[in-house]
Assembly symmetry: C2
Homo-oligomer: 312 residues x 2
């Protein structure tokens, strides 16, 4: 049987907000459609989505809005791992019942220095509570932010206990040796390893991995998607190099406000600048500097006109 699991490039979709910090559903819908049109899957509610700054209710409403628009749930991998066990269960169940390809699951991240036994119980309790064969859990390893790592031993234990539900991982450790260890140890078992950024996309694909889930997928979707589709071509290393240049510019700035500022600048829609506290939006000076650097390397936001906000 050929696996129908989601692969390729996904993006933790930026969440646009109104001036009062409520989610801008209309901007979100347009942005998601544009990503899908460019071949990028929707890892809505990731770190770069400011998902942990939103309530469960707000996340449910945003997911439902995409489904109402007819966007394909099979291209979606919502983040559903919260601090609260009950929140994780509710969001995960909702994603599964909505037909999502998978869920990207942070470990509970308030308590630090917790044991693998405690993390195992957390993931196991959620999987047992949802109790659905369709549930495909992608573990989310992002120790620089969560401060709660997912160890190789924990993956091994979860895979043995839930071979049908534990589907893969996003490795945002930034440590290629860790990604490589996962690729070698678990990818042959069908556990799909996604790099945490496009910096490691080509290397991950060459080692049999599934693709990448990357912030800059929001602002450089078509190019990143192109590499995932043509990575066996002769120009793959050159493509990777071009992706690195654009990412390198965004990475000089606070990433989330910078990506939003680029969309605001390219679409002329200032509403895109807004981030929820505790993040702070980019200043006009920062934005001007960012756009100057981006334009100097020939960057433009594809189909920016499709994002122009009708103010609905």
């Amino acid at each position: 049987m050929v696996s129908t699991k989601i692969r390729g490039v996904l993006s933790p979709v930026l969440t646009p907000f109104e001036a009062d910090y409520s989610p801008s559903v209309s901007r979100f819908r347009k942005h998601c459609k544009l990503l899908i049109d460019q071949g990028v899957g929707l890892a809505i509610f990731g770190t770069n989505s400011e998902a942990n700054s939103m309530s469960v209710k707000e996340k449910r409403l945003l997911l439902d809005a995409l489904l109402e628009d007819g966007l394909p749930a099979q291209k979606m991998m919502p983040g559903t791992g919260c601090c609260a066990l009950s929140d994780s269960i509710e969001l995960t169940r909702h994603a599964v019942e909505s037909g999502c390809a998978g869920v990207l699951m942070l470990p509970p991240f308030y308590y630090k220095g917790v044991s693998d036994e405690g993390l195992y119980r957390s993931f196991a309790t959620i999987i047992d509570a949802v109790a659905d064969d369709r549930l495909k859990v992608y573990l989310y390893h992002i120790p620089p932010v969560s401060q709660v790592p997912i160890s190789l031993d924990l993956i091994d234990r979860l895979l043995k206990a839930y071979p049908n539900n534990i589907a893969g991982i996003k490795d945002s450790s930034g440590d290629w040796n860790n990604t490589l260890a996962m690729l070698e140890r678990f990818q042959p078992q069908g556990f799909d390893v996604f790099a945490g950024s496009e910096s490691f996309l080509l290397a991950t694909l060459r080692h049999g991995g599934a693709g990448c889930i990357t912030a800059t997928g929001n602002v450089n979707a078509a190019e990143i998607s192109q590499l995932a589709q043509t990575w066996q071509n002769e120009d793959a290393d050159q493509q990777q190099e071009r992706l690195n240049v654009v990412r390198g510019i965004f990475a000089k700035y606070p990433m989330i406000p910078a990506m939003k500022a680029a969309i605001a600048a390219e679409t002329g829609d200032d509403g895109w600048f807004t981030v929820r506290p505790p993040l702070v939006n980019m200043s006009p000076e920062q934005t001007s500097s960012l756009m100057q650097e981006l334009r100097a390397v020939g960057y433009r936001l594809h189909n920016a006109e499709a994002l122009v906000h009708a103010g609905q």
Copy 2:
């Protein structure tokens, strides 16, 4: 005008859970009543309450249950700071409308390395949204767990902008020099400094502070409360020493599971052992060792019989 602000000893109330991890409302009610009877205020939904492992809905239900029992809201300081701005607003508003003496507010703690400007916007947005003179915010500084510190400059800025709403702080840094700096700089302005544990209770009171908010208030309530009431007596240092001995024993174990295990052992109610993942309950061996150490210093849980669970 004499300040009517809450002072003395409060405890981040342990949250008992059923075997299926749902909150045990009946055990919670009894435990809270017992704490009040021993002179300890209810800082429900703190770190030691496993509050971040619970949803907003679960927290609202627990607070409502206490109010239904007629427990005094003026002895309550629920934790209402969540990662999500919308969750913090909802919980804070509910606490204020319930008449709570104050709220203990964590900064949003998912994103690390955020700026004071971002944290200021977070607290300010919540205060502006609740927009109620009765709101008394106690900031919650616990960098070892939240990894997001609250700086002296941030306190200064918040106090200047919201002198009526910014009421004090719980300092769980474990750094006496930090507590002292807050006591000297802000306590004279009526900003109430609570030590993060009874280890610093006497020192805090001697420097004009408000008291302490301490985990072990759950299991050593009467003694800690006694020191807060008699700290000007000659035996105050001896009292402090005795408190330190008991706390020192609990601190050798994972604190939350250990306190729950002690209550289980002293009441014979095994239901008290349960913690929510990612925490792990104490083993029988750990519990036996803990109780042996506690009994060797003459420890007992006061009025343990009042906690015996009728299984409702």
